[in-house]
């Protein structure tokens, strides 16, 4: 029960006026940005990171703001998925099945309310999970040496490579690209320049914000140019944003199963929201779809993926905060933000920065309450924004990207770099290469190289040290399994692999 006492202390941090205001701002802005066609959580966070830095707020407050943006953008994504059938991320693809069917039957309002309630449910379950399991994992991870960390990061890379896009070879190539970008600049150990081609501006290396905004936001704008003829989206009528008691009670079991499943999947590296929502939906279909109503506007078809998705988002914070090793593109961007704020996540974070850790855990909950209490009444406002024409919304996203990239170093050179990454990102999308592993490689690459070098320095150049401990061996086995198993499992569970091809937030 120690954890619950700490969690109460965390609420004292989260309920400070500044943090409360930031959680609200994050959720609100995140909902708005996440709702824009094609703009998922990773774009929303990357664009708003430099702005957060510029505002000069303390680390725990900045993190609360970014976490709020994370959840808010997921809910915003649900709004455009349910009402317009344009899922901004792969994880929302499943929500579109029943959510949009409900909209076409004039029941968009209950679908939106269900999405908010299920997200809240997933958030509640997973925050309790976080408070209970994160300290345990941290205690266990204290024993990790550099060799174990190296193996853990290889595991994260292997899992994301094989799960991000459905093609292992393309995922590995994307990871390799990220690792290559990570080596650009002065080598921290020997201080020799690598891949700088005499460019002084490259000595500091590639900033992850510039790369992320280029690869994701700029390439998204280019991609959306392909279907401009839709111009203004026709808005469906959606009715009252409320569900009945009966709808709530029939969905209760769905939400509980979805939350627990989503949380467990979220903790694993590589899997994330996409797999969580697919798995929750297909499980629910098998468990409770007796009348064959799934896919035809069954409210449980909204409750399952939405609760799982939100629970997975919180579950993914556990490896990020206690091991310092993110398992997805979005959490990699959050790690970059943490490092930029001078916070090094790891097993000691909980004991050394209790305010930050428990404050964040509590604010996740506060953010979920905001999502429920404020987004339901405000849905009308958000929906009105959705009817603004594309020629106004998308260039607006571009303008925010400009400011964000410029704010990193106050350097126009970064804007040219961003444009280059935008073109590369578009080519990668077109040819089926996933983008998330690039960001993971870029953010995690330096840490992986550092732990490899430290392990080898300790062993005096003996490579066997990497496989010396039982923990390391288990991690190597997990890495190998994550390369081999997903294609086999996908065939057995009929996990819609092709749908996961749609570039997601994993």
């Amino acid at each position: 029960m120690d954890a619950l006492i700490h969690l109460v202390g965390g609420f004292a941090v989260a309920l400070r006026p500044l943090n409360l205001a930031l959680a609200f701002t994050g959720v609100f802005v995140g909902t708005f940005v996440g709702m824009l066609p094609g703009i998922g959580p990773i774009n929303a966070i990357a664009i708003l990171i430099p702005i957060t830095f510029a505002a000069g707020i303390p680390p725990e407050s900045a993190l609360i703001l970014l976490a709020g943006i994370y959840y808010g953008s997921q809910y915003g994504n649900s709004i455009s998925t349910i009402l317009l059938n344009v899922p901004g991320t792969a994880s929302a693809v499943v929500t579109a099945l029943d959510g949009n069917a409900m909209t076409r039957q004039g029941r968009g309002g209950p679908a939106l309310a269900m999405a908010a309630i299920a997200s809240f449910f997933g958030g509640t379950v997973s925050i309790l999970g976080l408070a209970l399991f994160a300290p345990l994992l941290a205690e266990w991870a204290i024993r990790f040496g550099p060799a174990e960390y190296f193996a853990l990061m290889v595991f994260a890379f292997a899992a994301l490579s094989s799960l991000a896009g459905g093609s292992l070879v393309r995922g590995l190539a994307a990871t390799g690209f990220g690792l290559l970008l990570a080596t650009v600049g002065l080598d921290p150990n020997s201080a020799i320049p690598r891949f700088t081609f005499g460019q002084i501006k490259l000595l500091d290396g590639m900033d992850f914000v510039v790369v992320t905004i280029g690869l994701f936001a700029v390439s998204e704008v280019l991609q959306l140019l392909e279907d401009t003829e839709r111009g203004r989206s026709a808005m469906a009528t959606y009715g009252r944003v409320m569900i009945t008691m009966k709808e709530f009670t029939t969905s209760l079991g769905t939400m509980i199963r979805g939350s627990v499943l989503g949380f467990l999947v979220g903790v694993l590296p590589g899997a994330g929201g996409t797999i969580a929502s697919f798995l929750a939906y297909s499980t629910e279909q098998r468990v409770s779809d007796r009348e064959g109503t799934f896919g035809k506007g069954d409210i449980r078809g909204v409750a399952a993926p939405e609760s799982a998705n939100n629970a997975a988002a919180n579950g993914a914070m556990i490896p990020l905060l206690t091991l310092g090793v993110p398992g997805s593109g979005t959490t990699a961007v959050l790690l970059g933000a943490l490092l930029g704020l001078g916070v090094t996540p790891g097993p000691l974070l909980i004991t050394e920065e209790p305010d930050l850790f428990w404050g964040l855990a509590a604010s996740m909950y506060v953010g979920n309450v905001f999502l429920l209490l404020l987004n339901l009444p405000l849905v009308g406002v958000f929906v009105r924004a959705l009817t603004l024409p594309r020629w106004f919304l998308l260039p607006g996203v571009a303008a925010l990207s400009f400011v964000a990239v410029y704010a990193v170093n106050q350097s126009p050179f970064d804007l040219a770099l961003m444009t280059g990454f935008g073109v590369v990102g578009w080519l990668m999308r077109k040819t089926g290469f996933p983008l998330a592993p690039v960001i993971l490689g870029l953010v995690l690459g330096p840490l992986m190289e550092k732990s490899l070098r430290r392990a080898m320095a300790l062993s005096g150049g003996e490579w066997g040290v990497l496989f010396d401990s039982p923990i390391a061996l288990v991690l190597w086995a997990l890495a190998a399994a994550s390369l081999v198993l997903p294609p086999l499992l996908a065939r057995r569970t009929r996990l819609p692999y092709a749908a996961a091809q749609a570039e997601g937030d994993t």
Partner: protein, 155 residues
């Protein structure tokens, strides 16, 4: 997807991508071999990670070259022209930002993008101007983030 594009023949895109990846891998390997240090600070040195990425590129590139997957659908000429226009707007924004200043450069770039998304000309640039001024106010006055005024006007 506008449907005006056509799939390429028999995985040619993947073969080209594979060849490029493998070539990039070889180039990375060659460049990495020049990372020599006078005295080794650690047993691994600065070459290990670049060599690893080179190996991944050569391996993945070779695989795609031999076993290409489904071909992508490339957009038609009209869309490609708009994309080239948008890329130019993104790139030129970085070039003109310092001399023209934030508001003017942003109005031009965002207005051009709006037009590429088929916004009406006058409304596009009007909205872009409004947005630039609003962003300037938000970032410079509220958040205290310095944005360039424009070297041309402030000389």
């Amino acid at each position: 997807m506008t449907g005006e594009g056509a799939p390429d023949g028999s995985g040619r895109t993947d073969r080209v991508a594979g060849a490029l990846l493998a070539a990039l891998g070889l180039a990375v390997g060659a460049e990495s071999s020049t990372f020599d240090v006078a005295f080794l600070t650690d047993p691994v040195g600065p070459k290990a990670l670049p060599y690893l990425t080179a190996a991944i590129f050569v391996g993945a590139g070779g695989f795609l070259l031999l076993r290409p997957g489904l071909p992508p659908v490339w957009p038609g000429r009209g869309v490609l022209t708009r994309m080239a226009g948008a890329t130019a707007a993104f790139f030129l924004y970085g070039v003109v930002l310092a001399p023209l200043g934030f508001t003017v450069a942003t109005t031009l770039a965002v207005g051009t993008l709006s037009m590429l998304f088929e916004g009406p000309v006058r409304k596009s640039f009007g909205a872009a101007l409004g947005l630039s001024v609003a962003l300037w106010y938000l970032f410079v006055w509220v958040l205290g983030l310095p944005l360039p005024l424009g070297a041309l006007w402030t000389r």
